[in-house]
Subunit: 390 residues, 2 copies
Amino acid sequence: MSEKNVRLGIIGLGAQGGMYAGLLQDGKIDGMTLGAIADIDPAKKELAAEKHPGVPFYDDYVTLLDSGDVDAVVTTVPHFLHAEMTIAAIGKGIHALTEKPAGVYTKQVEEMNAFAAEHPETTFAIMFNQRTNPVYKDLKALIDSGELGKLRHTSWIITTWWRPQGYYDQSEWRATWGGEGGGVLVNQAPHQLDLWQWLAGTPKKVFAKLAFGFQRDIATEDEVNAVVDFGDGATGHFMTSTNDIIGTDRLEMLFDQGKVVVDASTKVTVYRLSENERALSDKMTMQDVAKLFRGEMDPSSVYTVEEKTYESQWGQQHIAVLTNFAAHINDGTPLIADGAEGINGVRLASGMQLSAWTGREIDLVDYPADEYLAELNQRIEAEGKFPTRS
Amino acid sequence: MSEKNVRLGIIGLGAQGGMYAGLLQDGKIDGMTLGAIADIDPAKKELAAEKHPGVPFYDDYVTLLDSGDVDAVVTTVPHFLHAEMTIAAIGKGIHALTEKPAGVYTKQVEEMNAFAAEHPETTFAIMFNQRTNPVYKDLKALIDSGELGKLRHTSWIITTWWRPQGYYDQSEWRATWGGEGGGVLVNQAPHQLDLWQWLAGTPKKVFAKLAFGFQRDIATEDEVNAVVDFGDGATGHFMTSTNDIIGTDRLEMLFDQGKVVVDASTKVTVYRLSENERALSDKMTMQDVAKLFRGEMDPSSVYTVEEKTYESQWGQQHIAVLTNFAAHINDGTPLIADGAEGINGVRLASGMQLSAWTGREIDLVDYPADEYLAELNQRIEAEGKFPTRS
């Protein structure tokens, strides 16, 4: 092994794992090659032999970790397994790129994070590929620059995750409590739950209305409408579903000194106020107010508008995260997403579920992790298809 | 008095009352003339004499009701007074057009509605002028036709109600608990709270985050982010504020068979599915699903898009409601807004306040009216400027 070549083991040769294997085989990832593949499904052995001849195949992930064939792994397996596989890998000094979501319940993700923190020499990253989308990278840089000031409110309507019934009927575990641990919040929306918190900050409380099996024959949620509290009066709204075939993707963020609207993850409109809105408000005289009501004042005189349209670049994002993972291992390049950051999305998604189950606003700072797990296990038991979790 | 001429008494010669007096004096309201004016402010007597010479002026509204000069009244006075003045008028057989909001707390509005119901011969209407806006009239007709099917979710972001600090500093009662009973929910947003429920139906529950004196030096709310539950899984989101100088007005409604998006109350986009979305979902084969994920299926093949842009017509709306009020009195023309419908907006606005105060989701069907009034009175007492209410 060259110091500049990371041999990646792919755990789970499904749609996602297969895609990564293809990218590696085609030499698309600088500093990384395909080391080995593991899958418990015997049919995948044949598939691997056909598509990736010469690449070692193992029928369980522990044997892969012990094989000496890999320096790192990616966990393209059902969400419940991300934490235990990541812990096993890191325990053997093997770098781990966990898939999103980091897990289903916070307890397992906290165990993973604590274990990874004790092994800082082993890289722990998470596949938040949408953080490499130039739309959100640029927006993150703008917000971090402080130019727009403090957040006042935000709303993200993200209903472009349309999935027909046939999608759910593909496999036994999908959109079940025991096999997947949720619906749109666990499978599709984790991308936006991460981006939203990356851009807006981590909410302190959440209240959510979820509809379970609303427009699909599934046990879990296909409809979500939630409000969050960022503290100090700042609030947010998040709406997602898998039953809107037309689909809306609209993010709005209001700040003390401007506003950003992102449409369809491609068109960004940035409004910049000439100064802090509160200062503008305080400055107006009674005469100005009268003018405003007579329609003689044009508020647009106090702000500028900039519009920018981006190309959609979905295919490049997984490449960017894999390349960054390799670069971090090889030369310490900062990670796009540290594995430990996966907890925020899991806490928010599971907090939304717990809020809907209990009818209460859920504290995300002093988070009731045990209550969530007990509620989840009740649903897994009632379903009767999968083991409960601990 | 001609049977075809309704003599209107204006109670409260402020900005709104003055505007109606002007419209009547200019002959803009078919079937209605300016009968008399009442105001407790002596300065308004001079103003009335100057602008409306010959029109009787009274320094209290009861004298106006007893004068024989009016057949009907409009209550352009602080919100707390709408109910008692409307009850007094109807008790004397005088038709009443109450201003919005119908009141601040539901108890007083229910008393008004019950009293009006006992006097069906006297007209009881409410100034929901935005129901006459062609944008919303057409949308209401489309929804009522049943073509789009059942509501799934909706979101209204309405932050075009920007008000600078000077607006609040104009008078002692504005945005206080005792004088006005609330902030943006009571003064500005009642228009949208009515339109939303008129279009989407009456919610069964609400949870809201409000920020009181967030970006303005006021006691009440200038920031609202709320979710409502319409029952059967259908939900809604409502966000409003008076601190966004740029302003967003965007209504989205998703139905079983289509979607509507209204931008800036002028541009309407209607998406119509070829059939019910659930039927479309059920019909897709596994092959179709695979196609969808390979990007080979275009979901837009199953819907049409219609865009329509309306002219902004704000000035005409009050004329339409006054004319309709006169026509109802004169010949029984159906009312644009029956006075009894004002309760919905008051219940939703006060439910949002109560939710924010208590951190609970509030039941709007079995509404805790006494609890709301007790909480409001606590705030009126702490403020120490106005009497508590009962």
